[in-house]
């Protein structure tokens, strides 16, 4: 579905943000794209949807070059940016104006999601709060039923119930022929949703693993003392003890703590990355 080969991109030629990045993404998965500020997550998303052009290498989405911005590809590739533009008019007007551009737009699904997010369909977009606008945009993006959904920090600005609803609607609408990439810092909001983790560091993807494989290789535990886990790779202290990451020698079952995993990968890169390349 998405094939990136040796992608190099930079706003200045001398300072690439992404370098020799290769990645294959298959339909039927929700990918969580994690990385530090300025790591190039948004640039990667923008390159996938054709808003930025690769300096070197190739990007193909459903077999087409996104930089060509064909109408067919744009109907199937939808981006929800972190900061977005909303035109004048009501939600109804927005849908009437924009939905006809997407042949697979599902109006019933859109109305259902608006109701779930408690966004009034007749409200004026300019008078809505940022969170409400975001919920409207999330509903619209999902209702397009596009094959590639790219979301940049979708839970920013959402209140706590809306974050839960967001997880619910994504889980309920994600289809087998869709690729969903969610770039986020709010990993705790989404760790039950994401089934593949992509970590962008040093201008390339250093981790691209399904959640099951991560928990096969590593064990995540909450302990009173880090020494309770034999040979911990990484630990973080908190009020309720320590969150520890160790090598899963005994094939123990544990739940992936995405935030701890991300921090562990960044601080103990040399130890963790080779585990997944083996």
């Amino acid at each position: 579905m998405i094939s990136i080969q040796h992608l190099t991109f930079g706003y200045k030629k001398s300072r690439p943000v992404l370098e020799d990045l290769s990645l294959e993404l298959k339909p039927g998965h929700i990918y969580g794209l994690l990385g530090k500020n300025g790591a190039g997550k948004s640039s990667l998303l923008h390159t996938i949807c054709g808003l930025l052009f690769p300096g070197k290498g190739t990007v193909r989405v459903t077999g087409e070059e996104p930089a060509r911005r064909s109408a067919k590809l744009l109907q199937q590739t939808v981006l929800l940016p972190e900061e977005f533009y909303v035109p004048n008019g009501s939600v109804h007007t927005y849908v009437d104006n924009y939905a006809p551009f997407y042949p697979t737009f599902d109006r019933a699904l859109f109305s259902r999601m608006l109701a779930e997010f408690e966004v009034p369909a007749d409200s004026d977009l300019q008078k809505m709060s940022y969170g409400q606008k975001k919920k409207m945009m999330i509903s619209f993006v999902l209702a397009t039923r596009a094959k590639v959904l790219l979301m940049d920090e979708p839970t920013n600005g959402l209140d706590i119930p809306s974050k839960r609803q967001f997880r619910k609607v994504i889980a309920g609408t994600a289809a087998e022929d869709q690729v969903i990439i969610i770039s986020t810092h709010q990993v705790r909001d989404l760790d039950s949703l994401i089934d593949h983790v992509l970590i962008l560091e040093d201008k390339r993807i250093i981790i691209r693993e399904p959640v099951e494989r991560i928990t096969q290789k590593l064990v995540f535990k909450q302990v009173n003392q880090p020494t309770e886990l034999i040979a911990p790779i990484y630990y973080e202290g908190g009020l309720k003890g320590y969150a520890v990451v160790g090598v899963n020698h005994d094939e123990e079952e544990s739940r992936l703590d995405m935030e701890i995993f991300f921090n562990a990968v960044l601080s103990e890169k040399q130890q963790i990355v080779p585990l997944f390349n083996a």
Binding site: H46, C49, G50, L51, L52, F53, R69, S70, A71, L74, Q75, V78, L79, P81, E83, F84, Y85, P87, N88, G89, T93, D96, N97, Y98, P100, F101, Y102
Partner: protein, 262 residues
């Protein structure tokens, strides 16, 4: 170059709906500004054709220029640029929509709104005892250069709106002024080459020249004036040059949009 009539229609419909409020407020504001201008400038002659024509022409050029700069330019900032670039239409469709909107639909809307107002003003003028001729729109459009000049003006503004990222208005004004005065200067040079000015009416000594590409060439000195009407061939040649500039500008707009990144 893929163009779907359906998507083109959707683009134009979307634009008219999104800016309905601005159109509804903009035209009354334009009429009010025009009336104020007329009241201060008409003097004791009432509303002569010259005043009304000046007002009509200034209005259409200024308002359509602003229309193109603000409404057709969706690349002012990153968020609106993303919104515009991610819309599932080809670059050719977006270019066509901008050209149709700025060069056909907006002037038509302007004529339908403003011309009846000028006719009403002519009527009021007569009621008030001034007997000026009715302002006939056709007289203005009959001048072959008018429509062509309008198209070139609009196309240049469209090009500026997709070329400049910051201080678009200022840069566009500078470009338009440079092109306008540059063209006038070039016209004079070309006219001097094309017409035998020194031999006009057998009276050498006409020093001052006034010319536009499509009208008669006026020659003045202190006590006398004369004018030369260009031949149909000369006029056609001038017009063809300007009309040929249009597709060149539109193709440039197309490539600027195609290369656009956020």
């Amino acid at each position: 170059m893929e163009i779907s009539i359906n998507r083109l229609w959707l683009l134009l419909r979307k634009q008219s709906r999104e800016y309905k409020k601005i159109y509804l407020l903009g035209f009354p504001a334009l009429i009010a500004i025009g009336l104020v201008w007329l009241i201060y400038n008409s003097g004791g002659e009432g509303l002569t054709n010259r005043y009304l024509e000046d007002l009509f022409v200034c209005g259409i050029f200024l308002s359509s220029g602003l229309h193109s700069l603000f409404i057709l330019n969706r690349h002012r900032d990153k968020t609106s640029s993303i919104h515009e670039l991610m819309l599932p239409c080809t670059v050719a469709e977006k270019t066509c929509a901008a050209v149709i909107s700025g060069m056909v639909l907006y002037p038509l809307l302007y004529i339908f709104v403003i011309y009846p107002v000028t006719l009403l003003l002519c009527y009021i003028d007569r009621v008030m005892g001034f007997y000026n001729n009715i302002f006939v729109l056709w007289d203005m459009f009959r001048q072959p250069g008018f429509i062509c000049f309008y198209f070139v003006f609009q196309s240049i503004i469209l090009l500026c709106s997709v070329t400049f990222k910051r201080q678009v208005i200022l840069k566009t004004i500078v470009v338009v002024c440079c092109l306008f005065f540059g063209t006038l200067y070039l016209n004079e040079l070309i006219t001097k080459v094309v017409f035998d000015i020194s031999g006009i009416a057998g009276k050498p000594g006409f020093e001052h020249l006034s010319s536009t590409p499509f009208t008669s060439v006026y020659l003045y000195d202190q006590h006398q004036s004369a004018h030369i009407k260009p031949s149909v061939y000369q006029q056609t040649l001038f017009l063809a040059g300007y009309y040929l500039a249009l597709p060149v500008i539109w193709i440039t707009v197309f490539f600027r949009l195609k290369e656009k990144q956020i």
